[in-house]
Symmetry: C2
Subunit: 219 residues, 2 copies
């Protein structure tokens, strides 16, 4: 049934790397560099040239053999692939310390993203304006998100509220969530969730800090 060809599955990681290439291409562009080889563009990325070429090959041939890649052209192609050519509005839920920091974070602009709506259920925060965005009541969240047809959200509420809020976002039409709560969200599969979990990242760094005994197993 409909098994087209399983071969064209694109590694999730390949997409992640496209973002990195895009960032680097913009830097190169600012330095007035016009043409790069896969060797040059990956020099400072700890990614192999072959990996770079393979990643691009999932989407088409973008280079000139014997020459390299046109910086401007490739920039455009990758933006088209990622879908970041036009500005995309996001919603933020949770305007605590983390949420406020996200409102002030300029890095999203790099991928043409901006926070257009912000919500909090704490009445004392509602009405305040942080970095140009007015905090609104969570009660109005579903309505406003639907109204503005927003499909991506940043979830920065306390862990105990995350699952419930995630559900509400899903029902409001949100299709992609960057989740900052240290909880695994259980949501309908059409909603894409990426977790940002600094604490656990640190946890695993601590492991690597230890000089391990040569250790085969535990004894």
């Amino acid at each position: 049934m409909g098994r087209k060809k399983n071969t064209d599955a694109i590694p999730h990681e390949a997409i992640r790397r496209l973002s990195l290439y895009l960032r680097d291409l913009k830097r190169l562009s600012q330095e007035k560099i016009r043409i790069v080889s896969s060797e040059e563009i990956t020099r400072f990325l700890s990614i192999s040239p072959a990996q770079f070429r393979k990643d691009l090959s999932y989407f088409g041939p973008f280079g000139k053999r014997g020459v390299g890649y046109d910086v401007e052209k490739l920039t455009g192609e990758i933006e088209k692939i990622l879908g970041t050519e036009k500005l995309l509005a996001m919603a933020l839920v949770g305007a605590g310390k983390l949420g406020a920091a996200l409102l002030g974070y300029a890095g999203f602009l790099e991928f043409n993203l901006k926070i257009a709506l912000a919500f909090d259920n704490d009445a004392s925060k509602v009405g305040r304006v942080i970095h140009g965005v007015r905090i609104q009541s969570t009660g109005d969240m579903a309505r406003l998100i639907r109204q503005r047809k927003i499909r991506m959200a940043l979830l920065a509420v306390p862990a105990p509220n995350a699952q419930k809020t995630g559900h509400e976002l899903a029902r409001s039409g949100i299709r992609a969530i960057l989740n900052f709560a240290p909880v695994n969200l259980n949501l309908p599969q059409e909603v894409h969730v990426t977790n940002v979990d600094m604490a656990s990242e640190m946890g695993s760094l601590v492991y690597r800090l230890h000089p391990r005994p040569v250790s085969s197993k535990k004894r």
Copy 2:
């Protein structure tokens, strides 16, 4: 030469997951649950029971066959593996908006981590106390880090300074860095670097937001 046995390589991801298990175990402990099966502990984690057991198996047998795992005992074992049993002091470099947010972030405590030193090269910030930590001059960084024998750092400086600062941290004895700058750090291999790159994470989420044409390649 010296090929002991390549089989005991522990997947990097397995370590990451240990942090998740640990968090969940603490939750279970608070709910007074004493014994769990691999099935139960992974129920809300989107990790399979087999994966859980495999991950633990790299370090030893910690469960009772036919029964399950003792919550308290396993908690202790994982903390021992990760090396988070005792409080570990970290340094923060860069006390801008992001750095300030990190100083106020309580999540690190979960893994027994705390920020003990904070630095910034902006004279107007030096001397200020944020969340109980005094910002000090980057000029004193190497000396203070060495003095207090700190080995882990959070790097939250602007992108153009990241590489240089990373080097300085390495020379000061830092062996693990959580890097928030959108740059790939080139450091001696004994320094472990983990990148936290929200912007690029969002970039790849945007891709998944798009309803793709059935598309086999590009044309």
